[in-house]
C-alpha cells in the first residue's frame, strides 16, 4: 500500500522530479500516479512529451521534450498537472483554480502545499480562462517550487 492511498497526499518520492536545468526551462509536472482510464494530457501535448502505454497507464512526462507550453494544465480533469519554472530565484507555477473569487493579476494570495497548509505568499502573474477553467500562474519563492500546489484568495 502506498501512503498516498491512505492520505491522498503525494510525497516527492512518489514523483519523477525534474533536474535543475529542466526546471529553469519550465516543465509540466504530472502528479497523476494511479492507473485510471484517462488520457487527454497525451492528446494535448504538441511535442509528444507525455506518453502512456494505454489509456489506464499513468502518464509519463519527458522533461527533455517538454517545452513548458502549459497546454496540458487546463485540460487535465484531475487538476493534477503543474507547470513549474524557476527563474531569477523565483518559482513560476501554473495551475488550475476552480474557486471564486477569481484573483486578478498582481494580487497577493496565500500559497498552499499538498495538505492545504499555508507555506508562503505568491503573486498572481497570469489568469487565463480556458472554457470554464481558470488557469492561473503564480510567482513565489524558488525553494517552494515543488511544494506549492494550490492558492487561497482572500475575498
Amino acid at each position: 500500500m502506498y501512503s498516498y492511498e491512505k492520505t491522498g497526499i503525494l510525497s516527492k518520492k512518489d514523483l519523477k522530479l525534474p533536474s535543475k536545468k529542466q526546471l529553469e526551462k519550465g516543465v509540466a509536472i504530472i502528479e497523476c500516479v494511479q492507473e485510471i482510464p484517462c488520457n487527454p494530457c497525451v492528446d494535448s501535448c504538441p511535442v509528444n512529451a507525455i506518453s502512456m502505454k494505454d489509456v489506464n497507464a499513468p502518464p509519463i512526462a519527458d522533461y527533455d521534450k517538454c517545452i513548458g507550453c502549459g497546454k496540458c494544465i487546463g485540460i487535465c480533469p484531475g487538476l493534477a498537472i503543474f507547470l513549474t519554472k524557476i527563474k531569477d530565484n523565483k518559482a513560476l507555477i501554473t495551475l488550475q483554480y476552480e474557486f471564486l473569487p477569481i484573483p486578478e493579476v498582481e494580487t497577493k494570495v496565500k500559497a498552499l502545499d499538498r495538505e492545504g497548509n499555508v507555506v508562503g505568499k505568491a503573486i498572481v502573474k497570469k489568469v487565463v480562462k480556458e472554457g470554464k477553467t481558470m488557469v492561473i500562474a503564480i510567482e513565489a519563492s524558488a525553494d517552494l517550487a515543488m511544494d506549492i500546489r494550490n492558492i487561497r484568495v482572500d475575498s
Partner: protein, 417 residues
C-alpha cells in the same frame, strides 16, 4: 392484484371499502380502458422505448435513431441529462468519451444531438413522464403505461414498442446509525442536486461519509459552493476514489480519515453534530476513539443500488451480484436481458460510472436497432463500442465492474446452456 379493474394495486395498503372487487391478476396486467383523470389515453406506437434520459439512455436513443429506428425516450425529470446535469467536474476517459469535458456540458451536447434527431422525427422525448408499469402487449409488442404530468394534471400514454432499453440508473444507499433520520442527513447525490441544480445551500458545515469518487467529488463541489467540509470519513483503510480527486480536496485543507466511520448523529430536531469513531481491522469501533464533531450536515456517499423494479416486472431473470451493487438483470455482451428485445444499460445494469454508462447505452441502442433490422454499419460500431468498454475497464479501478460483468456472464451461461 386487481382492484375494481385497476391492475398492479398493492392491496395491503389500499383502503378497504364496501363492494370493492379484489381479484388475482395474471402474470402481466391488462392496461384498463378507464379514462385517467377524465383525459383520454394517448397511444404511441414506436420501435424502441428508452426509459431514462441519463448518459446511458441518451446515448442509447441517439445510437438507435442513427441506425434508423424510431425511438421514444421517456424520463421523469423536467429535463434530459440524468445525473450529468449536476456533474460540474471534468470527465476522465479518452477523446471518445469526451474526456476533459464537464458532465454538465456532455449533457448539453447529447441534448443537442437529441434535438436534431427530434427535428427529423427520429426521436421523441417525453419529459415529466413516469413509466408506471408493464402490461400485457398485443402480438410481439411490449406495452408500457407512461404518465406524463402537466402540473397537477396528467395524461396516460399507452406505449406499444418492439423493443425496450432500461437505462433507469440507481438509488443511493443509506447507512444505519442512530440519528440517521434527522433532517440534515443527506445522500451525496441529493446534496449535489440541491447545490448544482437548484442553487440551494444544503448546510454550512458538512461531514462526508465515504471516500469513493462520489464522496470526493461532492466534497470538492461543496467547497466550491462556499460550504465548509470538516472531514471525509471512510470505513475502508484506503481511499476508494481516484487519488487525483483526493489530492484536490487535501490541498484545500480537508482531511480524509480512513478506517473511520460515523457512530451516531445527534441533535434536537436537526443535525447538530456527529460522533465519529475509528475502526479496527475487523471493522469494529475502537473504544475510546470516539470524537464529537459539530456539524449541521451529514452527507452519505456509501454506494448505489441499481434500480431494477421495472425490469423485474417485465420478468427478466435477476440475480444478486454484490460487485454490481445488488440485484441486476442478467445480460449479455449486447446488453440484452433474458427476455428478447429487453435491454439494460448504465448503472441499472451494475454500478459503474458515466463514461462506461454512455458506452453501454451505445451498445444497447445499436444492438436493439440491429435486432429490428436497422443496420447502418451497426455490427462494426457495436464491435468498436465493446472494445472501447473493455479498454476503459482494463485498469485497477475497473476491477469491480469487470468482476460484476463476468459473474453476470457466467450466471447467464449457467442458466442457458
Amino acid at each position: 392484484m386487481r382492484v375494481n379493474g385497476i391492475p398492479n394495486v398493492r392491496t395491503c395498503i389500499a383502503p378497504l371499502k364496501n363492494d370493492i372487487k379484489v381479484e388475482i391478476q395474471g402474470k402481466y396486467a391488462n392496461l384498463p380502458d378507464a379514462k385517467f383523470k377524465e383525459n383520454p389515453v394517448k397511444t404511441i406506437d414506436i420501435d424502441i422505448l428508452v426509459v431514462g434520459a441519463g448518459p446511458a439512455g441518451m446515448c442509447a436513443s441517439i445510437e438507435a435513431a442513427n441506425q434508423g429506428a424510431k425511438v421514444l425516450l421517456v424520463d421523469e425529470n423536467p429535463c434530459v441529462g440524468g445525473q450529468l446535469i449536476k456533474q460540474t467536474h471534468k470527465f476522465f476517459g479518452s477523446k471518445h468519451e469526451k474526456a476533459g469535458t464537464r458532465g454538465i456540458q456532455i449533457a448539453k451536447d447529447l441534448e443537442n444531438e437529441l434535438k436534431e434527431l427530434e427535428k427529423k422525427g427520429e426521436v421523441t422525448v417525453l419529459l415529466d413522464s413516469t413509466v408506471i408499469g408493464y402490461y400485457e402487449g398485443k402480438g410481439k409488442k411490449y406495452k408500457f403505461g407512461v404518465l406524463k404530468r402537466y402540473g397537477y394534471e396528467g395524461i396516460l400514454h399507452e406505449i406499444d414498442c418492439k423493443s425496450v432499453i432500461f437505462a433507469v440508473g440507481a438509488m443511493e444507499n443509506m447507512l444505519l446509525f442512530p440519528g440517521n433520520d434527522l433532517p440534515g442527513v443527506y445522500g451525496a447525490g441529493a446534496v449535489q442536486t440541491l447545490m448544482n441544480v437548484y442553487g440551494v445551500k444544503p448546510g454550512d458545515k458538512v461531514i462526508m461519509v465515504g471516500a469513493g469518487n462520489v464522496g470526493l467529488i461532492v466534497s470538492y463541489q461543496l467547497l466550491q459552493a462556499g460550504i465548509q467540509v470538516d472531514r471525509v470519513v471512510e470505513a475502508v483503510p484506503i481511499i476508494g476514489g481516484y487519488h487525483v480527486h483526493a489530492a484536490k480536496l487535501r490541498r484545500c485543507g480537508v482531511p480524509i480519515y480512513t478506517s473511520y466511520s460515523i457512530k451516531e448523529v445527534y441533535g434536537d430536531g436537526k443535525v447538530e453534530g456527529a460522533v465519529v469513531v475509528k475502526l479496527d481491522k475487523n471493522w469494529q469501533p475502537v473504544k475510546g476513539s470516539e470524537e464529537k464533531v459539530d456539524c449541521d450536515t451529514i452527507c452519505l456517499a456509501v454506494g448505489l443500488t441499481p434500480s431494477t423494479r421495472l425490469l423485474s416486472q417485465v420478468g427478466v431473470e435477476m440475480e444478486f451480484v454484490p460487485e454490481a451493487g445488488g440485484f441486476v438483470a442478467l445480460h449479455n455482451n449486447s446488453m440484452q436481458t433474458t427476455v428478447k428485445g429487453v435491454y439494460v444499460a448504465g448503472d441499472s445494469s451494475g454500478i459503474e460510472e458515466a463514461s462506461t454508462a454512455m458506452i453501454e447505452g451505445k451498445i444497447a441502442g445499436v444492438s436493439a436497432a440491429l435486432q429490428l433490422s436497422y443496420d447502418k454499419k451497426a455490427k462494426t460500431l457495436k464491435k468498436q463500442y465493446i472494445a472501447e468498454l473493455e479498454r476503459l475497464r482494463d485498469g485497477p479501478f475497473g476491477e469491480k465492474p469487470r468482476v460484476a460483468k463476468n459473474k453476470i456472464k457466467k450466471l447467464l451461461e449457467k442458466k442457458h446452456v
